[in-house]
């Protein structure tokens, strides 16, 4: 059967639509991150915030907020990781200090990355970190135990309905061995 010209044109259009949609699904990842960054919806924290930035927003009165600290270890990381205190009460706009403890349980040196998350998500942009171990990669020598400080404050712009904020850190090994990953789960 002879192919006519317009037949191959629509065919090519459809094939390009397929290719476009395939890459579109990957584009969803940055789009989603940008969307969340702009709207602050998913509790992610993007980079350090400066304490000294002067903003024109009129400060509200300082009030007390309860911060709870959580920690999680990715299943592949051989590390004990926990907050030194589970809960603190802080005044808004006042810098507070706490710390997390991390302990290497192996005889190998480990490189670690720690990802923070704030709940409720809409309060994420009001939790300002001045110093945090999550800003850069951490290394633990064999069996080493370290105390990692966190300095932060909660801006008084935080919503009036927010009285409790959960600050959660998930720790994972940066250079996971691939074969390990292939085998776990069995």
């Amino acid at each position: 059967m002879a192919k006519n010209n317009f037949s191959s044109k629509i065919f090519l259009n459809l094939v390009s639509a397929v290719i476009f949609m395939f890459f579109f699904s990957f584009m969803l990842v940055p789009l989603y991150n940008v969307f969340c960054e702009v709207t602050g919806l998913n509790g992610k924290i993007y980079g350090p915030s400066s304490f000294f930035v002067k903003d024109d927003v009129e400060k509200k009165d300082s009030r007390e907020i309860r911060i709870k600290f959580l920690s999680q270890v990715n299943e592949s990381a051989p590390v004990n990781f926990f907050p030194s205190s589970n809960e603190v009460r802080v005044w808004t706009d006042k810098v507070s200090k706490t710390s997390y403890i991390a302990e290497n349980t192996t005889d190998k040196q480990l490189t670690l990355t720690i990802i923070p998350s704030v709940s409720p998500g809409l309060a994420a942009e009001n939790v300002k970190k001045i110093q945090c171990f999550c800003f850069e990669e951490q290394t633990l020598k064999p069996y080493e135990r370290q105390e990692w400080p966190v300095r932060f404050y909660v801006s008084s712009e935080v919503g009036d309905n927010v009285n409790d904020i959960y600050l959660s850190y998930t720790l994972f090994e940066t250079d996971r061995v691939l074969t390990d990953n292939m085998n776990h789960g069995k």
Binding site: S7, L14, S25, Y32, C36, N42, N74, T113, T170
Partner: protein
């Protein structure tokens, strides 16, 4: 030149003999038959898994299998029924019917057609082969939420199987669109096309838009599992909620892919057996197009409980509810077609009426689920299971059965056994309702999905549900018997078959000759 020579050959040759006919065939009728038999085989395979699930749930406690095996059966049941049974059955019907309904000699790209069928058995061999491996079949649910799924053994087999199924569907859809756009009989405008063709044109566009997204999602999954990326792993800076967004961006159009062709089929059958033209042809078309467009903006109603902001919850709630309007247009259209018609109740009509009634029940429970505050109660309970089985089993599957009974005389040249057909209908109808209606009750009472065991208070309704499932499952063997019998014997069918039927496919002999419409028919507006 070559066109002339090939045409000359076509005049003389019939099907090849033996197995090679099926391996190398480029004939749309052969490929349609292959698709339909393959989908029936998968229907029985997925059905056998469902029987295992219902046997385990017959009474509380763990009797037959451990929870891991149970989860594997649930996962494979979903994957096989969606990608192996419902979708290939619709593609098979499309292959048989679209060229005959638009007066085309074959599909536009016959070799690709052959390839897109033969990819499917390979995909399912890969997927099912995990049953014989250490680590076993995937057990993370058909929705394969990451990072649960990335930590499973044998995930690469699952990923590649989904890739191959996706390629097969995409090629099938390209073929459908190119055929419909280029090969309609002279004089047939788009608006004059039969509704089954319309429903498939829309479905094919949906498939082309979302199957690549599914392919992208499973590729990211594969990279997370084996190449150290962290698209969905929160520990590495990824976001598990993002997976749900990507998945349901595919997933919601996907559920309409499984129901739109059913709308087309039902419209034909109800009009034929009411002996009236359809109440509104173009309103049906517009309703289907609106449903298809809306399907892209409602995905997050599957994930109301992930912690979206209020504005998003409200948007997805309203968007979902708007879909009830075009769906209502369709249902009233069918009812208005039946109204004051000269109705006879042959098997296809029984299935079609059951489709309208039971699909509407499933649609209504879908509206209940769309209400955000209520969804927090219903989410991941058996109420959801009851909802989507009502739209898929007496929805999609009943429409496929209706289509098989309706067009079987055209395909085989023999009438099926009407008495047996009616028996099959009533057994299926009772079986489906006894299985799934009680699941509304246990779901509202709080029984969660995806567990091999449940609290004692749900025992009675689960036993009822299991008995219904066994009845429904066994009665499908009757369907197999009826179809095989009609292939080999039965009252000879006329070309017209049903006295109220309209459309080009009824102008060719029964059984339809191997080559039809080599000279295009004339269609008058």
């Amino acid at each position: 030149m070559s066109a002339v020579i090939e045409n000359h050959e076509h005049d003389h040759h019939g099907p090849q003999k033996g197995i090679l006919r099926w391996l190398f065939t480029t004939n749309h009728k052969d490929i349609g038959t292959l698709y339909l038999w393959f989908s029936f085989l998968m229907f029985l395979t997925g059905g056998a898994m469902a029987m295992g699930i219902r046997a385990e749930l017959f009474e509380p406690g763990l009797q037959l299998m451990d929870p891991i095996r149970y989860n594997q059966l649930v996962t494979m049941h979903g994957l096989i029924m969606i990608f192996g049974a419902v979708m290939p059955a619709f593609v098979g019907l499309a292959n048989w019917l679209i060229p005959m309904q638009i007066g085309a000699p074959d599909m536009a790209l016959p070799r690709m057609n052959n390839l897109s069928f033969w990819l499917l058995p390979s995909a399912f061999i890969i997927l099912l082969s995990t049953a014989f491996m250490e680590g076993g079949m995937p057990g993370f649910g058909w929705t394969f939420y990451a990072p649960l799924s990335t930590n499973y053994p044998n995930i690469a087999y699952f990923v590649f199987a989904v890739h191959i199924m996706g390629i097969s569907s995409i090629m099938g859809s390209i073929n459908v669109i190119v055929t419909i756009m280029n090969m309609r009989a002279p004089g047939m405008t788009l608006m004059q096309m039969p509704l089954f063709v319309w429903s498939w044109l829309i479905t094919a566009y949906l498939l082309i838009a979302v199957m690549p997204v599914l392919a992208g999602a499973v590729t990211m999954l594969l990279m997370d599992a084996y190449f150290g990326t962290s698209f969905f792993d929160a520990a590495g800076g990824g976001d598990p909620v993002l997976f749900q967004h990507v998945f349901w961006f595919f997933g919601h159009p996907e559920v309409y892919i499984m129901i739109l062709p059913a709308f087309g089929i039902t419209s034909h059958i109800i009009s034929t057996f009411s002996r009236k033209p359809l109440f509104g042809h173009s309103s049906m078309v517009y309703a289907m197009v609106s449903i298809a467009v809306l399907s892209f903006v409602v995905w997050a109603h599957h994930m109301f409980t992930v912690g979206m902001p209020l504005a998003a919850e409200l948007f997805f709630m309203w968007a979902t509810m708007i879909i009830a309007i075009p769906t209502g247009v369709k249902v009233f259209n069918w009812v208005a077609t039946i109204f004051k018609g000269s109705i006879t109740y042959e098997t296809p009509m029984l299935f079609a009426i059951a489709f309208v009634v039971l699909f509407t029940i499933g649609g209504l429970s879908g509206l209940m689920l769309a209400i955000t505050p209520a969804d927090f109660q219903y989410h991941d309970t058996y109420f959801v299971v009851a909802h989507f089985h009502y739209v898929l089993v007496p929805g999609a599957i009943f429409s496929i059965m209706a289509a098989v009974y309706y067009w079987l005389p055209k395909w085989t040249g023999n009438m099926y056994d009407e008495k047996m057909g009616k028996l099959h209908f009533w057994l299926s109808f009772i079986g489906v309702n006894v299985t799934f209606f009680p699941q509304h009750f246990v779901g509202l009472a709080g029984m969660p999905r995806r567990y091999a065991d449940y609290a004692l208070q749900f025992a009675e309704w689960n036993a009822v549900s299991s008995i219904g499932a066994f009845l429904f499952g066994l009665s499908q063997l009757l369907f197999l018997y009826i179809v095989i019998k009609a292939v080999f014997a039965g009252k000879k069918a006329t070309a017209q078959v049903w006295d109220g039927a309209e459309g080009l496919e009824w102008t060719v002999d029964s059984p339809a000759p191997y080559h039809t419409f080599e000279t295009p028919p004339k269609v008058n507006g």
